[in-house]
């Protein structure tokens, strides 16, 4: 393995402030949160605010490399501000924006440096001599970062793989690394409960939250259609729904898909249980238990999402996908599209639809 011994320069740390070395550098300065209020650090706080603002407005974070020190220090402060907003949208956006910018930088970075950054995330990476590829990385490092990507070129089965390594071009490597960066920052934003922060920090955070509501509006946070719209179900769920109402046997994964789907679009739990009543082996207690579990009202208290289309395809639940299916990768996304596209004016009664 070629984990290179290259040293990051201060300008590297400013461009890639998420590196371990950057964090160590910041730590060595031993600055307290309160210090940020002093005039000496006012530019750091201002730059941190700006980082988050740029993320919200443009989904990118500019690089201001003239003042390396401020650039490095403002990153952990920006993380703190983002945590302080307590707003999931801002957290997602900030992680994404930093990652996107990192991608642009890494795309033109030297091979050695790319390997060093990859090593920072404990990737196993080697140089590849087979054109058009520049690197090969261990398939598990690849999978961690590709499973959320939609383009079929990222499916493992469409990659060249040998001896446990996946071949990548330079820009593909930068792309996957940036995905790693995004996940890394998200983890930092989600880690630990919010510490007690001084007033001047929460004030800035509050302004950022307000900016978000203004600029982004509520549209992106808008939810599902208000009533259950059977006609907006994707083909897979329609088939399962039909099978359940006529009491036919449904596979385990099919049952899970149907239940979690209905829970997520807001069908009442009792209505879901009723749906399974026609099954020959219906057991009210067990069904209630399962439905409530999936709805997150028991046990782990997490509401389960239905599986993605890809998984449903693997397990044969995806039946007769149609044109809308081609544009989505999740049954709920199908419902969202069809549910909001269909005329929302006429309200069918719940009874009729649940039938």
């Amino acid at each position: 393995m070629l984990t290179s011994l290259i040293k990051f320069t201060k300008s590297d740390l400013a461009r890639y402030p998420f590196l371990k070395e950057s964090a160590e550098y910041v730590k060595s300065l031993d600055i307290k949160v309160e210090d940020l209020q002093s005039p000496e650090f006012s530019r750091v706080l201002e730059r941190a605010r700006e980082r988050v603002e740029e993320a919200i407005l443009y989904t990118l974070v500019s690089r201001k490399l003239k003042h390396e020190e401020i650039e490095i220090l403002s990153f952990p402060v920006a993380i703190m501000l983002t945590v302080a907003t307590g707003n999931n949208f801002i957290k997602e956006r900030y992680a994404l924006a930093e990652a996107k910018q990192a991608y642009l930088d890494m795309k033109v970075e030297s091979k050695e440096k790319i390997m060093a950054i990859a090593g920072n995330f404990s990737w196993r990476i080697w140089l590849a001599s087979e054109a058009p590829y520049t690197f090969k990385i261990h398939f598990s490092d690849c999978l961690r970062n590709t499973v959320h990507l939609r383009d079929k070129k990222w499916k493992l089965v469409n990659r060249l793989m040998a001896g446990g390594t996946v071949y990548l071009t330079r820009s593909e490597t930068a792309r996957l690394l940036s995905e790693e960066v995004r996940r890394h920052i998200k983890r930092r934003l989600e880690a630990s409960e919010v510490p007690k922060l001084p007033q001047f920090i929460t004030d800035v955070a509050q302004k950022l939250s307000m900016l978000t509501v203004e600029k982004i509006g509520k549209s992106e946070l808008e939810g599902m259609p208000k009533t259950v719209k059977v006609e907006a179900f994707p083909p897979c769920v329609s088939a399962l729904y039909e099978a359940a109402s006529t009491g036919r046997h449904i596979s385990h994964i099919g049952r899970f898909t149907l239940t979690s789907f209905l829970v997520n679009i807001g069908m009442p739990i009792d209505a879901i249980i009723d749906l399974f009543r026609n099954s020959s082996d219906f057991n009210e207690r067990l069904t209630r238990y399962q439905v409530e579990h999936i709805a997150g009202e028991r046990g782990s208290r997490t509401k389960y999402n239905p599986p993605k289309c890809e998984l449903l395809k693997t397990h044969g639940v995806c039946t007769n996908p149609n044109g809308v299916c081609a544009k989505i990768n999740h049954p709920l996304a199908y419902y969202l599209r069809r549910g909001t596209a269909a005329k929302t004016g006429q309200r069918a009664t719940n009874n009729k639809m649940l039938n």
Binding site: K152, N158, L160, M161
Partner: protein, 411 residues
Amino acid sequence: MRSRIICKLFQEYYSKDFHIENAPKQMDKREFGFILFSEGVMVRHKRFKRLDELKAFMRENVPSDAYYSCAYYEDPEAEMDKKGWVGADLIFDIDADHIPTNCDRVHDEWTCISCGFEGKGIVPKNCPICGCEKFDVKTWPCEKCLESAKAETVKLLNFLINDFGFLEDEIQLFFSGNRGYHVHVVSEAIKELDSSARKEIVDYICGIGLDVSFHAPVVKKHEKGVEVGRGMRFSCFGWPQRLWSGAQTFLEEANENYLREIGLKLDVIDTIVKNRAALLRGLREHGGLPLIRGVGAGTWKRILEHIVNLQSAKIDTVVTTDTHRLIRLPNTLNGKTGFKKVELPISKIDEFDPFKEAIAFRDGSIKVKVVSAPAFRVGDETFGPYKNGIIELPTAAALLLLCRERAEAVE
């Protein structure tokens, strides 16, 4: 309630002959589960810190089937959501149930639970009479079926070793004791992969979602020379290699019948047969798919999809993606056959004989009343077919019929 004699034999096995050299790694982090003769239901969430505790449990409780989790937990005894998942082995199950063979019509029977309609061979999705999806299934651990399961296992091992780069000592290979093979990969590299990452591994091995344009570019001839299209040239490993060598074998061997079977039109078949040599040459020289009049990209796509199907391994997709799965414990008896789940070295898979190596009882005989059974072999002896008769059989053979509910003991 299972026949008393099965339970007695299992008890004998667990008090004398039960050894596990290949006990699950870090067994104190695993959940164990058992089906007990006395209760017939799964007893789960068990934990054993040491091997002798497990052995004592087996001796005292005599399960008909014993399982352990592919997962490692902080607290294996807790309820499912509180166990604290820390990782899991990567498990593959290759079962004859998922592989169509031409003998399943002979030995497999199914009965629709709601209307009683009976049939033979692979179980249909819906009952042809009433549409119901639940069946009572009687399968058989048949030699031919097991041979095809073995062939799939060989393909799987090839993926694991060559493509995924697992070392042979990270891979454990087992005969399940019934209708197939299990492969366990125990490696830090995959331990923490979640279900969606495991699904990508499954899709790779099954060729699901494979788009041939990523692996096999087309080659166009002009007056000026040749041009290899989008995608990379076939290379000497991974899926491109499988497609390339598959395409060559295909062209060498395909006769008209075969070409018709994969759904090619008559004029296309005619062109392929007439230009066989030229196509082969193009394939070898340019490392891409040669296009000629009558054999275009569409035809190649058809052919390669057929090759993907031949080269992929037919694994059970649900087992591998389930990171909490319980799997049969090595060296325990399979309640459906009375055979052991046994480990075999990868290098010995070709000559491995499941009906010899998996026998748990080598002495004695039992008198049984057989309802019906196809011809079968245990060790070097062949038996049957039987239909309604009383016969004395060597213990292992009798036990197989008893476990399969094809016979009853005669006291």
